[in-house]
Amino acid sequence: MEFITDTLAVFPALFGAVPIVLQLAAGAMLLALVLGLLTALARISQSKVLRAVAVFFVEVIRGTPLLVQLVYIFFVLPSIGIAIDPVPAGILGLGINYAAYLSEVFRSAILSVEAGQTEAALSLGYTPTKALWRVVIPQSFVVSLGPIGNYFIAMVKDTALTSVIAVTEILKTANILNSQTFQTTEIYTAAAILYLMLSLPLARIVVLMERKARSRG
């Protein structure tokens, strides 16, 4: 009984970190969506140079650990004169990392839209660029909604990694509490439950959004 009440007592202190987590996740997701789409477009473009740049970006980011990328941005960039505050650095690191993964989602979704859709648009007087933006990409979003949602949930949990670059998110807050009270079991149990409380509703929302998008076509 005492364990449960002690664990519950930790929550108020951890709740204070939730706005930071949401800020990190929302900011990084926005960055990842924009950068991911641009990377996907570069990968399917006619230009050899753009394609090469995109492939290089994706492979470098996927080939190195997110934790290393965060540390690199926060601790190494200042040595060449680029100092970034913890939260923006976290958003940048998470955003760039997830952009690489999302670009693959977008690329396959765009390629999955039938050629006939583009042909119809062209025959109606759309330019190839306009056909891509007005006809193909909107349809590819429906296909990619599920994977995007999954990556978003994963990203919410990966915000915990930013604790190493001094972002006072949930895990960092828990570490600080632990160093003060040494109630290790209660504190990290509460932290784990708090992550669950964030990710379970998100998973539900993703399912609902996907269902709604699919019901239209």
């Binding site: 119809a120 025959s123 330019t127």
Partner: protein, 277 residues
Amino acid sequence: MADNIINVHEVHKTFVSEDKQSLWDRFRGRTHEARRVEVLKGVNLQVTQSETVVILGSSGSGKSTLLRCINKLETIDSGRIYVHGHLVGYREQNGELVAERASITAKKRTDVGMVFQHFNLFLNKTALGNVMAPLRDVKKMSAADARTKAVHHLEMVGLGDKLDNYPTKLSGGQKQRVAIARALAMEPAVMLFDEPTSALDPELVGEVLAVIKRIAEEGTTMVIVTHEMQFAREIATRIVVMDQGLIVEEGPPEIIFTNPQHDKTRALLSRSQTSPN
């Protein structure tokens, strides 16, 4: 020649299928042979105002490719195709065809409406949304004007009660009628139909043919590729028969159907149910 809407002159087109060369073959230094199929071998065709030209031919004769070359969904190797006196997708430079800017091609394509075998409706838009989209995106009409025009054209093809249906909630015949309304709403100078009923269940063919027939009667210039012989005979002002990349016979339907000159034409007619009378 001046009132020619479409003028196809000596068009050649070869498909090169790029057989994947295996890594092993490349390693061994084996040369790679691309398969070449000449689908158009010097085609000439003129279509004038208000004509309804029906192209017949067995599959592989090049009739669909010819249609797709007219609005440059396919490139051509040599020859010229003029729509309203202009090349589509190309400009001429020292007697050679050079690809023109995509935005110029797009503008010219608004003169040519196309209806596809597999409808190609935008799957994320309702029937109304499908017809409105190009009016908004290409013709830059206001939402209100585009809506009025789209509703009008959907009513013309008998779908005034299906405006808000997504393509998944429409039958094949209804989908094709939406596609026809979508193309017509752009007010093209000529309509191309690429086997418009080939993907339909037999009982749905009639409703689509009826719509096409009504459009023809209104004086729209059309080129139709079809396998529906009876329909071809009723609607065509001129029949064109293609075989192995060439036009082998052409003339008014009453002559083609009663007194075919070419073996291929006879074979096509005998295979269909139409009695030559």
